[in-house]
């Protein structure tokens, strides 16, 4: 399951899937269905929160996925920047991972807000974790904007690697400052119920299923997306001529 560089073979021109990713995709779908069964049917409603607790089975795995994706982005950025070869493949992995992370961070924020509205009565709380998450989301939107800037592939890779690593510096500072801010302002809390959900065994297991399903989903998306980015780079590099030649060759072979 290496993230290989597609060459000009016919297999890679057809798509981004390999037998390994196909198996992974099927596993992901199976796990997601299983999560649906556990999250919606088998696991019990919470004593305080009722059915709203089921949002957690999407919310927690997606925040896990988003953070995992951002960690992968930072690591791949580091590999690109400090590695001897300044691997462009690492840069593509960083980019693909950040895209996935941003999507699931958005899912996290939306599901969190819906849960907050039901449980706390408000969509938003200026608490350290929420605020850090929101700012992190915006920072990675900025990171993707940097990836979209003009310039050579090497420029893009270096710029975005530095921004990806600076974002890692940002997280603890933002978290620390927001935490300090909120602890100095002990204002009326709107938390009607206790924040800590008392998890019974089945709930915990459903959550575990969710985390596994979303981790598989992440790996699957990452493989496809980074191969996709490789192909985009490849097609930009080789230009239209080569693509045309390949198509013609395919046409010739099938006749």
């Amino acid at each position: 399951m290496t993230i290989d560089t597609p060459t000009s073979t016919t297999a890679s021109t057809r798509g981004t899937s390999t037998p390994a990713t196909r198996v992974l995709g099927i596993l992901t779908i199976a796990m997601t269905l299983w999560l649906g069964v556990f999250g919606l049917l088998l696991s019990p409603a919470d004593r305080d929160q009722g059915d709203a607790v089921r949002i957690m089975y999407v919310h927690v795995p997606s925040v896990w996925l988003a953070y995992l994706a951002f960690i992968v982005t930072a690591l791949a950025s580091g590999v690109h920047l400090f590695g001897k070869r300044h691997s462009l493949q690492a840069d593509r992995v960083a980019g693909a991972s950040a895209e996935i992370g941003v999507v699931f961070m958005a899912v996290t924020l939306v599901t969190g807000m819906l849960w907050g509205r039901i449980t706390w009565g408000v969509y938003w709380q200026w608490d350290a974790r929420l605020t850090t998450t929101a700012l992190l989301f915006i920072s990675y939107v900025g990171y993707l904007a940097v990836r979209g800037l003009e310039g050579s592939r090497e420029q893009r890779a270096r710029r975005s690697a530095i921004v990806g690593l600076l974002a890692v510096l940002e997280v603890p500072l933002v978290h620390w400052s927001v935490k300090l801010w909120r602890s100095l302002h002990q204002e009326a809390t709107v938390l009607g119920t206790d924040l800590d959900v008392s998890l019974d065994g089945l709930m915990l297991f459903s959550l575990f299923v969710g985390v596994v399903a979303f981790t598989l989903l992440f790996v699957w998306l990452l493989l496809h997306r980074s191969r996709m980015l490789t192909m985009i780079d490849l097609s930009a590099e080789s230009g239209l001529d080569r693509a045309l030649a390949q198509r013609r060759a395919e046409g010739g072979a099938s006749i």
């Binding site: 700012l135 003009e150 530095i162 600076l166 510096l169 940002e170 400052s177």
Partner: protein, 230 residues
């Protein structure tokens, strides 16, 4: 390159940036008036003396953040317009020294802007400076400005010479700079005594602001070379 040489480069860049600013007078003739207009607009939007007095520290720092975006854009527009940054590279200037020079020049300009905004807030919003809060106000403003300038210089360097940078820079800088806004505002509140706060509540914020300035100052001088050098 030896370190004395590096300091010299930083010094030259620093002096050059301030000289350009002094001669072009963009800071005094355009950006400061813009900042003051922002203060006036805040007063229109938040009708009421009590609210203004309560929110003055936050408003001053918001005006500061927005105005700083314009100064930063300019700081790098002068470098890319005539390929000056490329010339610096050809001359073999150490990029971390260039960063240091541009960073400090920006700090000086932003501190001047802050002074204007502070006077504006005293005059228009009716805040009162307390003797006990002066030290906190000055130290926190300086460290906040150092942090904000460092972050802005890094990202402006990154976006310099790229199309669409005007809209990209705020998106990159403002989320990262949010600890500066939180910290500087809280410290300013403590030094003014806004909402019954006491000065001692502001000192932890000085810590946050200083750490921020050191982290991004250091990070910037490391990152600036690779950012520009492509």
């Amino acid at each position: 390159m030896s370190s004395p040489n590096r300091l010299r480069v930083a010094q030259i860049v620093f002096a050059k940036d301030l000289r350009i600013e002094r001669r072009s007078k963009v800071l005094t003739s355009q950006i400061m008036p813009f900042a003051v207009v922002t203060l006036v607009l805040f007063a229109f939007a938040l009708d009421g003396d009590v609210i203004l007095q309560r929110t003055a520290p936050g408003l001053v720092w918001l005006a500061m953040l927005f105005s700083s975006m314009i100064i930063v854009q300019r700081s790098f527009a002068v470098e890319t317009a005539d390929g000056a940054l490329d010339a610096l590279r050809v001359a073999g200037a150490d990029m971390s020294a260039v960063f240091l020079g541009k960073w400090l020049a920006l700090v000086v300009q932003l501190l001047l802007l802050e002074l204007v905004l502070l006077v504006g807030a005293v005059v228009m919003y009716g805040i009162e400076l307390r003797g006990s809060g002066i030290v906190l106000l000055v130290t926190s403003s300086i460290s906040a400005t150092c942090g904000l300038s460092a972050v802005s210089t890094i990202y402006a360097g990154l976006a310099s010479g790229v199309r669409g940078r005007e809209s990209l820079l705020p998106l990159l800088v403002l989320p990262v700079a949010s600890p500066v806004l939180i910290g500087a505002t809280r410290a300013a509140e403590a030094s003014f005594g806004t909402g019954g706060t006491v000065t001692s509540e502001g000192w932890p914020w000085l810590g946050v602001l200083s750490v921020f300035a050191v982290v991004f100052g250091f990070g910037g001088s490391l990152a600036f070379g690779p950012l520009i050098d492509d």
